[in-house]
């Protein structure tokens, strides 16, 4: 009596990867349904907040168009924090003011809602408040999904798993091993409300120009990265620490965030602000080495579910969106011959391999392990740099050559020459 629910493609998860896939598919006339567990797309998503324009090409060409973006970034800073100081690098460029802008700061709840609207305009069906419990598999082929709603089984030619860092689908299909605590970071983020003019003044920008600050260093215990991004009327401040370190140091994300807010380099930037929101999320950190199997008969894995995060470059959403687009394109090609087997869907992997997505992830594949094993890198070097800078810049009668000797001596004592050479080689190997 019950008619089976049949679609061409089921996308699980209405995050950037899922919505990218759904939009491309719908625009080509494919009957696609997106199942989202949150109340609305974006309600369960968290990211630092930097969104790249380039990845939207071929999906929503007019981006940003009417999309709710905050500020376009014209300056990117990198800070190495010590207890009361920081050494920083920065690049500010008028070229970033030219359109199309390189990237924008965004709020996921707003942006995803808009993105979902675009997918719906193109013809995709988005169902919220519904959880996909498990895939429906027949003869080792994924033919649909089972949701938690009554009469909630859906069938399709292909299922695109865009269900995020905790991808239930990848797990239940045995495509990935259990996530280890060294392969994920817990990230906590706070949105602090500040007057628009005050933001402009403190960050030295005007109009809708924005600044991003990436932060790491010896100030943090363990392998940690923080950020500060300017939004129109608020500042997003966050920090992410590898779960293993969180467990070992017995600190929680909230504590880390609080201590960061009080750092003398950071406190003045957010003084007088009002906390508007607090969010926590898991971020995949394993990189290339921890990527699961991406394809099987009737299934492709995209986005965070495929662990596609390049944290050193702060890229995750653009990788997700690009992977979503590739999955959609792969489907369109497979649909020509009506063959959705792994052999044909493998084209998805080829596309990824030939693109910056895998190329970048491969380039940095050893970095996660390196940072993990060699705590020196994020602890000792930033401290040393800060001390060195302080020493060199302080005029106290000590001749410069002596100062250099002192610094060198400290470096040798703290780290050791052979270690420094080893580190240099390791880093070079990890990033080449």
């Amino acid at each position: 009596m019950s008619n089976k629910l049949r679609y061409d493609v089921i996308v699980v998860g209405a995050g950037p990867a899922g919505l990218a896939a759904a939009t491309v598919l719908a625009k080509s006339g494919v009957k696609v349904i997106v199942i989202e567990r949150g109340r609305f797309p974006g309600s369960k998503n968290v990211m630092g907040g930097v969104f790249y324009t380039d990845c939207m090409k071929g999906i929503v060409d007019e981006f940003p168009g009417k999309a709710p973006v905050e500020r376009h970034v014209i300056e990117e800073r990198m800070w190495l924090l010590d207890d009361n100081s920081h050494v920083g690098f920065t690049h500010k460029n008028e070229m970033f003011n030219k359109e199309p802008h390189n990237c924008y700061t965004v709020f996921r709840a707003k942006l995803d809602k808009w993105f979902a609207g675009e997918a719906e305009k193109a013809g995709a069906l988005i169902i919220n408040n519904t959880v996909v419990l498990e895939p429906i598999v027949e003869n080792n082929k994924v033919i649909g999904v089972k949701t938690d709603r009554p009469q909630g089984d859906i069938y399709a030619n292909v299922v695109i798993a865009a269900d995020g860092v905790n991808s239930l689908l990848s797990k239940s299909l045995g495509l990935r091993k259990e996530l280890k605590s060294k392969d994920v970071a817990i990230a906590a983020k706070e949105v602090i409300g500040l007057n628009e003019d005050i933001i402009n003044e403190r960050f030295n920008v005007k109009g809708s120009e924005g600044v991003t600050i990436e932060i790491t260093g010896s100030f943090f215990p363990g392998e940690t990265m923080g950020f500060i991004y300017t939004n129109k009327k608020s500042v997003s401040l966050g920090v992410g620490m590898i779960l293993e370190d969180v467990i070992n140091s017995k600190m929680n994300a909230n504590d880390l965030l609080e201590s960061m807010k009080q750092h003398p380099s950071i406190a003045p930037l957010i003084a007088g602000g009002q906390t508007k929101e607090f969010l926590v999320h898991l971020i995949p950190e394993g990189g290339y080495k921890e990527m699961p199997k991406l394809v099987m008969d009737g299934l492709m894995v995209v986005g965070d579910a495929a662990m596609m995060v390049n944290s050193i470059h702060r890229e995750g959403s653009n990788l997700a969106i690009t992977s979503g687009r590739y999955a959609a394109e792969t489907y369109l090609e497979a649909a020509k011959t009506n063959d959705f087997s792994e052999n044909v869907l493998k084209k998805y992997i080829h596309k990824l391999n030939n693109s910056f997505v895998i190329k970048d992830l491969k380039k940095y594949k050893n970095l996660p392990d390196l940072l993990q094993k060699d705590k020196r890198l994020l602890q000792k070097y930033p401290r040393l740099l800060n001390q060195a800078a302080f020493e060199l810049l302080t005029v106290n009668g000590i001749p410069k050559k002596e100062k250099e000797k002192m610094i060198w001596k400290t470096a040798k004592k703290e780290i050791g020459i052979s270690n420094m050479i080893k580190d240099l080689i390791k880093i070079w190997r990890s990033v080449k």
């Binding site: 629910l5 988005i126 169902i127 519904t130 709603r149 009554p150 009469q151 909630g152």
Partner: protein
């Protein structure tokens, strides 16, 4: 059977923040939710439809973007969703609102057929006045059953319903002819988890729009100008301050507290 539910999309009262300097509400970013009491009314109507057939329509009055609550109702199983939106309603108090909704409902009767049961929630969590429902019932001159906790029987053929309502003194079961107007309590039912096909249908259902263009409205009963009650001023109540923290061992605390409570002891 045709049931019509009047719903309101309200800001989540617990998330409303007050700007103590200007004395105004900070509505920005406060999520809007379907008035919880109406969700139960929709649930009841949909259950009735599943049992005896018919259709369920929902109507709300609000700005053009007040569609989230209507979409939620569709996902719960409602068949039709109407948004009555027009600038002429701006500033309406409850009298003007009940008039507007009355005319909107009349239009729906014209388009979808006679209504047997009208529903509204007991009260809205933002305005909390509980007047709109009774006002609409009076305009239609139909029996009003407030604080509904159970619909014991609905007989469309013989045009009557038996309903139980809640008062301070207990429960009262009444028999009323149909059409009748019911305002519901949260305890009327438990919200159920709608089947997936309903959500799919809801996602594909258009929200129908009503305005002064397609609804016959007497402009002399609409909006701020024709609202008998007006807000003279709005202010934030004195923010409650943290009082005294009692100190001492558990026994000390008990002694101190019993002193404080002396005037209340019976």
């Amino acid at each position: 059977m045709h049931a019509l539910i009047f719903i309101k999309q309200v800001p989540d009262a617990s998330q409303v923040r007050v700007n103590y300097e200007t004395g105004t509400l900070i509505r920005e970013g406060v999520p809007a939710i379907l008035n919880p009491f109406e969700a139960h009314a929709v649930e009841e109507a949909v259950r009735l439809r599943e049992k005896i057939g018919g259709k369920v329509s929902v109507l709300t009055m609000g700005p053009p973007q007040a569609t989230d609550a209507l979409k939620e109702c569709l996902s719960m199983g409602a068949d039709n969703a109407y948004l009555l939106s027009d600038r002429v309603f701006a500033g309406s108090d409850t009298l003007a609102t009940s008039y507007a909704l009355y005319e909107g409902a009349r239009k729906i009767i014209e388009l979808e057929g006679d209504v047997d049961l009208f529903f509204a929630g007991k009260q809205a969590i933002d305005g909390d006045t509980a007047q709109t429902g009774p006002g609409i019932a009076t305009r239609f001159d139909i029996p009003l059953v407030t604080y509904l906790i159970k619909l014991d029987e609905v007989n469309i053929g013989k045009k009557y319903a038996i309903a139980t309502r809640l008062t301070e003194f207990g429960q009262e079961t009444v028999k009323t002819p149909l059409p009748a107007f019911f305002t519901v309590e949260e305890t009327l039912n438990e919200l159920s988890y709608a089947p997936l096909p309903w959500l799919i249908k809801a996602a594909q259902t258009e929200i129908k729009r009503l305005s002064s263009e397609n609804v016959a409205l007497d402009k002399n009963q609409c909006g701020l100008k024709h609202s008998p009650t007006k807000v003279k001023k709005a202010f934030t109540p004195e923010k409650r301050q943290r009082g005294e923290t009692l100190k001492g061992t558990c026994n000390d605390l008990a002694k101190q507290t019993s002193e404080i409570l002396l005037p209340f002891v019976k």
